[in-house]
């Protein structure tokens, strides 16, 4: 039974030579120039995944922004300290001049009274 099936299958699946027409068509197809293959689509810049690209760009922007803000704040602090120091210098010189004026007035009134005494004598 099984031998019969086997022999029938062998008969059905026997190697058959292709027809001339088939060979001709195959050779014609092989000889034809190949159409350009579509390139695989790149998803992001430099071949990076879009998400990775956005993350990198955001990180770089954040770093630049942070450095800029830090420098701006530092500059602002420096300016505030400078203006405060300037105000203190002006205040110190104003107070000094005020007290020098006090001494000057005392010296002047003393010398005036001496002159008056001398002219009276």
């Amino acid at each position: 039974m099984s031998n019969e099936i086997e022999s029938r299958m062998r008969a059905a699946l026997r190697p058959v030579a292709p027809s001339d027409e088939f060979s001709q068509r195959l050779l014609t197809q092989v000889a034809l120039p190949r159409a350009p293959q579509p390139k695989p689509r790149r998803s992001g810049v430099g071949g990076l995944h879009p998400l990775a690209w956005w993350l990198t760009a955001s990180l770089a922007a954040s770093v630049i922004l942070a450095v800029g803000v830090h420098q701006h704040l530092q500059q602002q602090r420096l300016q505030q300290s400078g203006l405060e120091a300037r105000r203190e210098v002006v205040e110190a010189l104003r107070l000094t001049s005020q007290k020098l004026n006090l001494a000057y007035e005392a010296v002047k009134s003393q010398s005036r009274s001496l002159t008056d005494e001398q002219s009276g004598a």
């Binding site: 420096l78 300016q79 300290s81 400078g82 203006l83 120091a85 300037r86 203190e88 210098v89 002006v90 205040e91 110190a92 010189l93 104003r94 107070l95 000094t96 001049s97 005020q98 007290k99 020098l100 004026n101 006090l102 001494a103 000057y104 007035e105 005392a106 010296v107 009134s109 003393q110």
Partner: protein, 187 residues
């Protein structure tokens, strides 16, 4: 061993001499008790770094700023303490004496001493001179309701200080900078 004795002696002597050298910078007490009693207090401490910073913020095109900038050149510090009270005799003379006693040290010369019975204002101006150059100025002004201590450290050019006249109201004091300062008068 003997050859090391002399260098060792000088090495030990140098810091001692440095400590003994008079400094134009006064040790000003904190006056924390007075600051609480005062209606107005001014505490200014300007070291060389702050003076340099202040100078950078002075406009050379502005006459007042330019004059101030000239005065600041060569200065190493400005220290001011000023207290104003709402009643007479709110401070003790001993508070000022702590500073005044430092001015009895060699190097300090009293330039001006005024005692006004009318205004009851006493002003003492001291100067420290080194090689005919004023290197320190101290001013103590005591009035019934106010006392002020000013200590300026560094190469003070009195001529430049004169130029501030009329700008901060600095009066023209008859100070001859060419003459040597008077001998110190001990308290």
């Amino acid at each position: 061993m003997r050859k090391y004795t002399l260098p060792l002696f000088f090495a030990l002597l140098a810091p001692a001499l440095a400590c003994g050298a008079p400094s134009p910078k006064l040790v000003i007490p904190s006056f924390s008790g007075l600051a609480q009693k005062a209606t107005e207090s001014v505490t200014i401490t300007l070291d060389p770094a702050l003076l340099g910073m202040a100078a950078r913020f002075l406009d050379s095109n502005d006459p007042q700023d330019a004059a101030t900038k000239e005065v600041l050149k060569g200065l190493q510090g400005i220290y001011v303490r000023s207290y104003t009270f709402d009643k007479d005799s709110a401070y003790q003379q001993a508070d000022i004496d702590a500073v005044r006693s430092q001015l009895a040290a060699p190097g300090w010369n009293r330039l001006v001493e005024t005692r006004s019975r009318k205004t009851r204002a006493d002003v003492d101006i001291y100067i420290m001179v080194d090689n005919n150059q004023a290197i320190g100025l101290a001013l103590i002004a005591s009035e019934p309701r106010q006392f002020t201590i000013v200590n300026i450290v560094g190469a003070i050019d009195l001529d430049k200080l004169h130029k501030l006249e009329g700008q901060f109201g600095v009066p023209k004091l008859d100070i001859d900078t060419a003459k040597p300062a008077p001998a110190p008068r001990k308290q």
